[in-house]
Symmetry: C2
Subunit: 388 residues, 2 copies
Amino acid sequence: MIYLDHAATTPLDSDVLKAMQPYFNKLFANSGSIHSAGQEALAGIDKARQQVAHFLNCETNEVIFTSGATESNNLALTGIVDASDIKKPHIITSNIEHPAILEVVKNLKNRGVEVTILPVEHDGIVNTNVVQKEIKDNTILISIMYANNEIGTVQPIKEIGELIKKINEKRKNKIYFHTDATQAAGYLNCDTKSLKTDLLSLSGHKIYGPKGIGVLFVKKGTKIKPFQYGGHQEFNLRAGTLNTPGIVGIGEALSIVKKNRDVNNKRVQHLRDKLIEKTLKEIEGSHLNGSKTKRLPNNANISFDKIEGESIMLNLDFEGIEVSTGSACASGSLSPSYVLLALGLSHLQAHGSIRFSFGKENTIEDVNKTVEALKKIIKRLRLISPIK
Amino acid sequence: MIYLDHAATTPLDSDVLKAMQPYFNKLFANSGSIHSAGQEALAGIDKARQQVAHFLNCETNEVIFTSGATESNNLALTGIVDASDIKKPHIITSNIEHPAILEVVKNLKNRGVEVTILPVEHDGIVNTNVVQKEIKDNTILISIMYANNEIGTVQPIKEIGELIKKINEKRKNKIYFHTDATQAAGYLNCDTKSLKTDLLSLSGHKIYGPKGIGVLFVKKGTKIKPFQYGGHQEFNLRAGTLNTPGIVGIGEALSIVKKNRDVNNKRVQHLRDKLIEKTLKEIEGSHLNGSKTKRLPNNANISFDKIEGESIMLNLDFEGIEVSTGSACASGSLSPSYVLLALGLSHLQAHGSIRFSFGKENTIEDVNKTVEALKKIIKRLRLISPIK
């Protein structure tokens, strides 16, 4: 199998699994118990919290463990709205956010929140000036993803963070800034002080960590309400018995990402660039979607004229090459990617797109085999395509 | 270590871990992906969903995987309220529910929901007649736990379920019945058809399954809204990438519970009964809290006159015996257990209580050693106690 779907999920790193192992059935006690067995579990969680805090350049009490990025996003957006004393609060987001933002925003809109959904430029980037123009007196939250899950475009989070900071200095009701860093966490600097974010979401399973665990960074002093009620865990902000193995795993995974980031980014970028170069050169009617430069080093999203992405994907699968037509969350849906439509692609072009997302176990042979398979498949599919 | 805190959490069963293992880094793909790697992960989830459905005697599309019982309870209660078209809906619960119910109810009350919190009898049991008396025209939901986490008392869920079913036949707006079966799942029959529940919550880590995974049973036709928004997972009722290893683990754990239930219950009940018998006989001023007969086979909650539970617990811990003063979720809190106060215990008595909760790896030697340690510790503590 050649797995080129790392944006959907990653295998668990063997060192991460090794770190988790003792917490399954040796140091298994409830970290909320005050006996020594409980305290041993808590020590594992404390270490992981430090690893996460180190990754985010923040304090340990600004790290909230959740069940994943979807919960982190729900907590961030709903929690800020619920804690606000503005009568009709206003929030701003972009039209290429993940459903775990857009669907939460839709729900908040149904509850009476005012919503502005920003467009992106043709290269899939949010324009900071457009963000600034949409800010109103009742704006309480701006949520812009760090990197897109389908096209890998990287947003100017630091620039937007600095803009909001400057604006906040001159206004009474603070605007909070949230970023969904789920796709970015494996590749980009997530220093929350430098990015000037108040809230940041990330997930374990996109960074060779476990599934079912995530983090929400919540800056000290942020006015936020819990989303999930119950016990007093996570500084009263997230109820539920702590998932010790998951927490230990995400701490270890982030620690490994930080350590190897430069070397790993260079490696996957080389593979990714080779794939783009060979594909665009050797396959007629193929186009890269999204900015060439402002994108994650592991992402290539390519449209192939006059054929369906789903057919390409299934044919590649048959050859043991795993790619995706868009986000796994939307798979099975017949409508074209809203992200690609937002870039200005036609329905037809959007339907003919494939996401290749590389990971640390991929090799140059994987690239060569994939391009060879693609050439064969696309030739065959174009022969039988009803679109001329 | 003698671990007698299984109500707080359990170690992961080695067979469960074995079932989970392939899903960490071999069958690791996103179950939402349509390529074959994704479909292999989905097959593991499908099998687990069948195991859970078998355990609950329900259909597979009535099984919703969540991050734990706390989330299941939040989804059940908030989801039913949010989907109701009654103007000021009314919900009923008991005063000995877990905080994952009581805190959700408090939040709903703040949002304008009418709430009735039922008392329990002195033996810790909810009276079905009292439930019936409190039902109003605007009642939409009754949530009563199956077994209590501190005193192990078992509620007449089937009786209440049958009552509600009968009442529903004669009224227009349906009353939904939810039970938090987190503590019960390891020991009691959870046949949802026989219990006549519409919703049932349970958690992996209380039944030798993984932490960070839970289930909400939602009966077909139940009007409920999602709690966590995002992707279309779990029949559009719970967004977020599926935690394949966790799901496979909880399926396997429930399957093992069902298979070994009768034998295991007999074993732990024998140990538990020995502990109660020896303690009450050999330690003066010790009393069992909660019903003697209507309780989980593994739970003993005992008050010791004139001393603090916390001191007993810490002294037992020093001897390598792990017990609890109440729920792990409330640990660190100085207020006496609200569950014990609800039974009519004084603050002093409630403060002097210890929960012993047995598990499948405990032996009769554990019981003997624990009672011997208790005798020594309690004698010593009473000598220095300021309470006379």
